[in-house]
Amino acid sequence: MIEYLISPEFLLMMAKIVGIFGGVMGSLAYLTWLERKVMARVQMRPGPTRVGPFGLLQPIADGLKFLFKEDIIPTQANKFLFILAPIVALIPALLSFSVIPFGPRLQVADLSVGLLFIFAITSLGVYGIVLGGWASNSKYPLMGAMRSSAQMISYELSLTLSVVGVLMIANTLSLGELVTAQQGTWFGFIPRWNIFLQPVAFVIYVVSAIAETNRLPFDLAESEQELVGGWHTEYSSMKFAMFMLAEYANMLTVSALATILFLGGWTGPAFGPDWLRMVLPTIWFVGKISVFIFFYVLLRSTLPRFRYDQLMKFSWKVLLPLALANILITSLIVAIS
């Protein structure tokens, strides 16, 4: 036991965990900064500038403030579930990073069913929202929870089905292998990314992913103008911050997954000295994720949100049939070739 605890592979594993966890938590905090900055620029204004250079200390101030804010538990609330909910929301959101390959060797665990693992873990995230909304014992949170659970179940279907085509082509469920399968190029200049083989699946995936993470134009669960704050209306202080962190973590997860499935993960041109070759894949990976995040923020700042029934119709009547058709066509092609 002791030998194992001091063995190099265990220490390496620990280093990876600490590094990835720290990196993810840091980037989650700075996602809020990025979002506020990008949205400000879209809206012709500077955004946070006063707290640190370019407002860079803003997330730290926000986080610290939350730590020292009074934590209110409403008297009518179900205390146990009210406290449990943000934990249930945050832990699965963070767990999924354990199987994401941030680089050729920068992965905590390469499960053979890594992709399904992520789907399984993120599908548990809905409990945080549902329990939080219900435990608050208040109407707006409950409505938010209802909307959210219905929405997440519906879009999970199309999300999962959209990647089946990719799986048929790659023939693996391991995220590491999915990435390596996309290495190389066609004709020397088009990267062998799945997005070129599965464009429809990519679109379905991105749309459902936005819906899964409750972001505009699908942010019905929160919808500030309708439900005040949605499921987290009654939450204050760190618990509210945990919900927010979970939301951003989910954003990061689905973006990372989109990168792995469709954009070749960490693959990209490697050049320069050895240390640069070591770092470059991670940089490509982070860069590709950033594109998605940027897209997310742009969407949030331009589009109005759907109505509840339109959202459900869109999922069941548009996305799901499309995803099924995509699977059918892909399987036909795979069978023929």
Partner: protein
């Protein structure tokens, strides 16, 4: 290490299962069931049946139980309704049924041979499961799908009166 984890998950599963039965509030029962399912999937992982473990969580904990919880919250049932009068006799039916299942399990385990266990360790991969589903067990598989389809249509007919 594996033993510790096994006992941990097993204890969690049994505890959660008992909790499902004894909880007064139906929502807590449902939540305990989720814990039970999750610890079961932990046990599957220990058996190297990764695929089963993950599917267990996706299908049961992540989808079906969400619907359960959803419905419970929608109805907002009061705590412990003692209106289970018509189920009074089922309690007594439960004892022989339980014994019967125990008997079945013991029989099955008794007949398992050692080399089967080794093979089972390999059976957890998606490829093997897919292969056996579409070759050896094709008929039951298709029959189940048909059954589910029928149930689905029935549900739609019930839910939508003005078709």
């Amino acid at each position: 290490m594996i033993e510790i984890l096994f006992f941990f998950f097993a204890a969690l599963a049994v505890g959660a299962a008992i909790n499902v039965l004894v909880q007064k509030h139906v929502l807590y029962s449902a939540l305990s069931l989720i814990v039970l399912l999750s610890s079961m999937s932990g046990l599957f992982i220990l058996l190297r049946a990764d695929f089963l473990a993950v599917i267990q969580v996706i299908v049961y904990a992540g989808a079906i139980m969400v619907l359960f919880v959803f419905v419970i919250m929608l109805l907002n049932l009061p705590e412990d309704e003692d209106g289970a009068d018509r189920l009074r006799w089922l309690k007594f039916l439960g004892i022989p049924l339980g014994l019967f299942f125990l008997f079945l399990t013991v029989i099955t385990l008794w007949n398992v041979e050692r080399q089967d266990i080794v093979e089972a360790q390999m059976a957890g991969t998606p490829e093997l499961i897919g292969r056996s589903l579409f070759t050896d067990y094709l008929l039951p598989f298709e029959a189940t799908s048909l059954l589910i389809l029928i149930a689905l249509m029935g549900a739609v007919v019930f839910a939508k009166k003005d078709l």
